[in-house]
């Protein structure tokens, strides 16, 4: 479990990091908190020719809380976002869900943007960005572009981030007035990747449910206000259409079962938060 040889640049500023990415293209990987990349390097699952370490880019370690959204820079650790003052007021969903990411030790190292860039289908952060209809700012020497979560996540561990781009920051919209939010997750052990994770938002107009861990990327569904058996039917349809995966920890059937049961509980909890 030793990595294959690679070149390493400890970037002094964003421009230097982007220059290396532009030059190395597909051969380079950005290293932020290292919680996904370093194990993959050690197991030689990933063999980048170049690793660009952005941990010194302190400008990217800032959290900016505005009235409508919170912006999280590329070097913000998950623990820092969780500890951000008033997060529970402005972003109740984030405050509920961030403690489900790994363990205190991994949250202290792992970055918010790193998890999004990695795009593990069972990870909480891609689910949260999708649920909140957030966006990703990608930067390269060619310029900046902002993508919605839906456009950013293309599939399992695959995003629209080009080889010369890196995530500069992400933006999570704030709580909508009158909305209730809830997050629930089923995993085998505390801190494991989700078998199914659900994030719900209930407003006066409708219900939004976003699933993680089921298909190859988070799936979001929006309904008019539903309840009773109509909600059960809607959840059953969502369960069957979410392309549930099999793995050794859970069958596709269990995942669909969880969409139906956990999904409903999450929606009901969000509803209760609203009231």
């Amino acid at each position: 479990m030793k990595p294959a040889p690679f070149d390493y640049v400890l970037a002094e500023n964003a421009e230097q990091a982007l220059a290396v990415l532009a030059q190395e293209g597909d051969a380079a990987r950005v290293l932020a908190g290292g919680q996904s990349l370093v194990p993959m390097l050690n197991m030689r699952l990933a063999r980048p020719g170049m690793v660009v370490d952005i941990s010194r880019l302190h400008d990217l370690a800032a959290i900016h809380a505005g009235n409508h959204a919170i912006s999280v820079g590329a070097m913000v650790r998950q623990a820092d976002l969780l500890a951000h003052p008033h997060l529970a007021d402005s972003h109740p969903l984030l405050a509920q869900a961030l403690p489900w990411i790994g363990h205190p030790q991994t949250r202290a190292q792992g970055t918010v943007c790193g998890s999004l860039a990695h795009a593990d289908p069972s990870a909480e952060l891609p689910l949260l960005l999708t649920a909140l209809d957030g966006s990703v700012t990608l930067r390269s020497r060619r310029g900046r572009r902002e993508l919605s979560a839906v456009d950013f996540f293309l599939g399992m561990m695959t995003t629209d981030c080009a080889a010369d781009e890196m995530i500069e920051q992400v933006r999570f919209p704030a709580k909508r007035p009158g909305a209730g939010y809830a997050f629930r997750e089923f995993s085998r052990r505390d801190g494991d990747f989700a078998i199914v994770a659900c994030a719900a938002a209930v407003t006066a107009d409708g219900i939004e449910l976003t699933l993680g861990g089921v298909g190859d990327r988070p799936h979001r569904r929006v309904w008019e206000r539903l309840s009773g058996s109509a909600l059960d039917d809607a959840l059953n349809e969502f369960a069957w259409q979410s392309d549930a995966r099999d793995d050794q920890h859970a069958s596709a059937r269990l995942r669909r079962d969880l969409v139906r049961s956990l999904g409903r509980q999450t929606i009901e909890e969000a509803q209760a938060c609203r009231e």
């Binding site: 030689r44 699952l45 399992m156 505390d190 059953n236 259409q241 269990l254």
Partner: protein, 988 residues
């Protein structure tokens, strides 16, 4: 001489080990200074479960700068002998594959280099040409005569079949009111020590001797196996152990093949070689418990009294019967009636080999398998006869006045009062509360169950029990094997200090603390004044083949032997002291660091002064007394006799008892089981250190919660290993393991010097089945397999799934083992004929396959490609071979493909169907099944299904883009398409 003061035994003295361990000052194998010039080894492992090795090309690896040498199976076989296997069979078990691989993860080559980094780089440069063979994955498959042979020279995968009869089981079953039967499968799992294997090997060419430091734990009978394999006499294999160990739980026994492998590597390299196993290697290829299929029948009276048992066990030892197997199967042979008085027993024991990692020592060792069947059966008897499970247990228990009790199969149970232990649990408030909670939960419609288990925990193994696998005639020819020699040395230094050395190799159990207490009590000293050394050096220390730390033998055998050695020294010291104190030797008292005349504490000398006598003034030792310097005791209990002519064997010396009661609630929607309360009552004989005993109980309990709910060394249907990381092999953490309530009943063993029995393995035997019984009770369903994952529990609840709405049906679930499978479709603007042509054209394939570097057409329907495949950052270069068959131009074809790369290998079959669309375009529908092996399967199990879909989807999407581009290219493209289409069409 006065009797033991026992001022320290039985008290929870602070552990002397902990300060160093907790401050990072432990001396584990990877902390030891490397010998000068030390090189580092890395091991190349098979991605296949079963394959012939046609060729290994190590040339490129040898040229990697920093590489000293590369060792293959052929090199190994040229200079060493196979490891002795546990049965008289023409089976060759090497530490590294020779000619054939028989499990995924089996060593195939060793690279020795300047650093582990370089060694791993060189592994990537080794090319192995495998011819894959049909794997045999399950024990039941191995029983099929037509199953693919693992060992051709053995001639069958069923390698041993023994039947035993004790009493008259035939008559008992004929006369029985009822026969109750259960079939269970115990899974593969293992306790996973935090420290993996490590070996530092040196070879002295002048003395032709090996000097090895390894975190081996015993039994040291393996020393003989290693020396024989290395073709040296025992005195030329010096084996040492580090001062500290990061845990073993039996598992470190399995380092011994690597001792041989690295010894040979060091000899070839001409330099010392160090190898430290990583977690991926450990989980996939170290050792595991045996998986076992058991059918157990009981002849039962209407009141639940069992008159006979009929065992049919199929033991899966993996790819080889690696020594000391088949010990897992025979360790419990004397205990096949558990805690029950049953005189008639029939046993059939079959041993099979399969394409999985060889098995070996593991906490519980045979007990979890046996009790999973036996205690599930007693619960099932209660269900079938409508009795209280506690009554079934109680009616069959061995009577308290029957000890020492001889079981039908030959064990001599030393002591116990099982009824009293039951009463302690059943009269507790905990049990009453569980009953109330169950009533309340069930009234509310929830799923709540209570489970019980009564087990006898054997400890201190008889070194002869494995020979029960031989027939009495074979044993007579081979000569008897028996006993359990323990050794201890107590010595005095010139300043009167006391040193203790035992051949035990501790793994965190607190040997130094307990031996200080034991020897301190004998000599009247504070334990802090006793220095204990526990690392072992076979060239210098007293040891025997039974030495080591396994079979829960420390408290019962090793600490007891240290007591005997200290007593022998005390006797000699008393004779010297008697002369100085002017009393008879039996009037000398050792207490509080002084040696005094009984009844006259004023007449005393300091212990240190007396103890130094034989160093400084041996001439003052009186006539008739002996010098008191050092005493070594070898102790073996006379009760451990060899198996007799009727196959009766006293397989262990001590027999603790455990009675467990627990309550669980099952969440109907998710299948998750939560443990509400867990009470465990233990008789482990005399307790030497209460906190450490409770620590053993808690540790075993945590392992057992893992076995019950989480842990499995899972294999795919193709023999690929699927639990290569701790994200795949789920060990419960403090958050998943509740604290058990522990009660003790001390029934000292009459057979051990201190009255202690083993305690470390009991909950691994009792807890999985107690929890399974509770889940059975909660669901009203028969639990027959572990671990009880959410899926397995949901399967038992067995509710029909709400149907899919029209238009969103999923693929049908396949029968049996899960494979990667999927389907998809792409639409194209080009005609079906053009699409067909595109699909079969190497130039097209080269252009469209993502990451394709080159395609070579080997024959008309066969292509070889060099492709970079992967998902996200997980990429690797693969050699892909594609074969087209069942061509029905232009409508359907079958593609069979294999891919081989450093991360693993895969194979799959896909069917493509081409359909014309009304708009004049075409549609391609594909379905595939695939399997993936090697590292990527072991560590990526969670993502494999999605990754396979993604890679295959990429291919067809790229095909679509390419086809559209071709169409836009106009006439030439269309002509090309037509020409190639004709060619392929006529090729049918």
């Amino acid at each position: 001489m006065a009797a033991d003061a026992s001022v320290n035994i039985g008290r929870a003295r602070p552990r002397v080990e902990d300060a160093a361990l907790l401050t990072g000052a432990g001396q584990f194998i990877d902390d030891l200074a490397e010998p000068p010039g030390c090189l580092h080894a890395a091991v190349l492992r098979s991605p296949h479960a079963h394959a012939l090795i046609r060729d290994i090309d190590t040339e490129k690896a040898k040229q990697v700068p920093g590489v000293t040498c590369v060792l293959t199976g052929e090199d190994l076989a040229a200079v060493s002998l196979p490891l002795v296997v546990g049965l008289k069979l023409p089976m060759q078990c090497w530490p590294m594959a020779v000619g054939k691989v028989r499990y995924a993860g089996e060593p195939v080559a060793v690279v020795v280099a300047a650093s582990r980094y370089v060694a791993e780089d060189a592994l990537d440069a080794i090319r192995v040409d495998y011819q894959s063979l049909e794997p045999v994955v399950s024990a039941m498959d191995a029983l099929q005569p037509e199953s693919s042979l693992l060992h051709e020279e053995v001639g069958a995968n069923l390698v041993n079949d023994r039947r035993f009869r004790y009493g008259d089981p035939g008559a008992a079953f004929a006369d029985a009111e009822r026969v109750v039967e259960i079939t269970v499968d115990y899974p593969r799992n293992a306790v996973t020590p935090i420290e993996c294997y490590g070996v530092i090997a040196k070879f002295d060419p002048h003395a032709e001797a090996f000097d090895i430091t390894a975190n081996f734990q015993g039994p040291f009978s393996m020393h003989a196996v290693m020396a024989r394999s290395l073709k040296v006499p025992g005195n030329r294999l010096r084996l040492r152990t580090p001062p500290d160990s990061g845990g073993s739980f039996g598992v470190k026994q399995g380092v011994f093949p690597y001792v041989v492998l690295m010894a040979i590597a060091a000899r070839k390299a001409g330099r010392p070689v160090k190898w430290v196993e990583d977690r991926l290697e450990h989980l996939g290829a170290s050792v595991s418990a045996t998986n076992r299929r058991i059918t157990l029948k009981a002849a039962v009276a209407g009141d639940g009294r069992i008159s006979a048992l009929d065992w049919d066990q199929v033991e899966d030892v993996g790819a080889y019967i690696r020594a000391p197997e088949p010990a897992t199967l025979y360790r419990m042979h004397g205990n096949m009636t558990g805690a029950y008085d049953i005189q008639n027993v029939a046993i059939r024991n079959r041993i099979v080999v399969t394409n999985k990692t060889p098995t070996g020592l593991n906490r519980g060792f045979g007990g979890p398998q046996v009790y999973f069947a036996l205690e599930r059966l007693t619960a099932k008897i209660a269900t079938e006869l409508d009795l209280n499970p506690v009554d079934v247990i109680r009616r069959n228990l061995i009577a308290a006045d029957a000890f020492p009790y001889r079981t039908a199969t030959g064990a001599l149970y030393d002591s116990g009062d099982y009824q009293r232990a039951l009463a302690m649990a059943l009269e507790s408030d905990t049990y009453k509360e569980l009953l109330a909670r169950r009533d309340a939960a069930r009234a509310a419609g929830r799923l709540y169950g209570i489970g019980f288990a009564a087990v006898v925990e054997p400890s201190v193994s008889n070194m002869g029990y494995v020979s029960t696998v031989m027939t009495p005639e074979e044993r007579a020819k081979a000569g008897p094997k028996n006993g359990a020699q323990a050794t201890a040395t107590v010595r005095l230094d010139p300043l009167g200090g006391v040193g203790v050395q035992v051949a035990s190799v501790p793994q965190g159990q607190g040997h130094r603390t307990v031996l200080g207490q034991v020897v301190g009590d004998v000599l009247g000293l504070d334990p802090a004044h006793v220095a204990v050394v526990t690392e072992l050096d076979t060239a210098r220390d007293a040891w025997t083949i039974a030495s080591g730390n396994y079979a829960s033998r420390f408290a019962a055998a090793v600490a007891g032997t240290a007591k005997l050695a200290a007593e022998r020294l005390r006797e000699k010291l008393a004779a010297i002291a008697a002369a100085q104190l002017n009393v008879r030797p039996d009037e000398v008292v050792f207490a509080d660091g002084k040696v005094a005349a009984a009844g006259n504490p004023e007449n005393a000398i300091p212990f240190a002064r007396l103890a130094a006598t034989s160093h400084w003034a041996p001439g003052t030792v009186p006539d008739g007394a002996e010098q008191a310097l050092s005493e070594t005791v070898y102790w073996t209990p006379p009760e451990l006799t060899a198996p007799d002519a009727d196959d009766r064997v006293n397989s262990s010396l001590c027999h603790g008892f455990i009675f467990d009661v627990c309550g669980v609630e099952v969440e109907r929607a998710t299948g998750r089981v939560s443990i509400e309360r867990y009470l465990t009552v233990h008789d482990c004989g005399r307790i030497l250190h209460p906190e450490m005993v409770d620590g053993q109980v808690r540790g075993g309990f945590a392992n057992a919660v893992g076995a019950a709910f989480y842990e499995e060394y899972a294999y795919g249907a193709d023999g690929s290993f699927r639990a290569g990381t701790f994200a795949d092999y789920l060990v419960p953490t403090a958050l998943e393991v509740p604290a058990p309530e522990i009660m003790h009943l001390e029934m000292p063993s009459p057979f051990t010097p201190l009255g202690a029995k083993g305690v470390g393995e009991g909950n691994c035997m009792s807890t999985p089945v107690a929890l399974a019984n509770a889940v059975s009770d909660a669901l009203g369903r028969e639990v027959t397999a572990l671990p009880l994952t959410p899926d397995r529990v949901r399967g038992l609840i067995d509710e029909a799934e709400p149907p899919a709405p029209a238009g969103s049906e999923a693929l049908p679930e396949p029968e049996g083992a899960r494979t990667l499978r999927g389907e998809g479709e792409e639409r194209f603007a080009i005609s079906r004929d053009a699409l067909w042509a595109t699909l079969l054209d190497p130039a097209t394939l080269e252009a469209i396959v993502p990451g394709c570097h080159a395609v070579e057409q080997v024959s008309e329907f066969q292509f070889h490609a060099d492709v970079t495949l992967g998902v996200g950052p997980v990429k690797d270069r693969y050699k892909v071979e594609v074969l087209l068959s069942d061509l029905e131009a232009p409508q359907s074809a079958t593609l069979s493909a294999t891919a081989t790369g450093a991360l693993g290998s895969g194979s799959g079959t896909g069917h493509v169907y081409l359909v014309e669309t009304p708009e004049g375009g075409s549609q391609l529908v594909y379905r595939y099944q695939a399997s993936v092996g090697g590292k990527v399967a072991a560590v990526g199990g969670r993502l494999l299904d999605g990754a396979a879909r993604m890679v295959i989807g990429q291919f067809f999407r790229a095909l679509g883009r390419h086809a559209d581009a071709e169409r836009r290219r106009g006439f030439w493209g269309r002509l090309w398409a037509r020409l190639t289409g004709l060619r392929m069409g006529s090729g049918r």
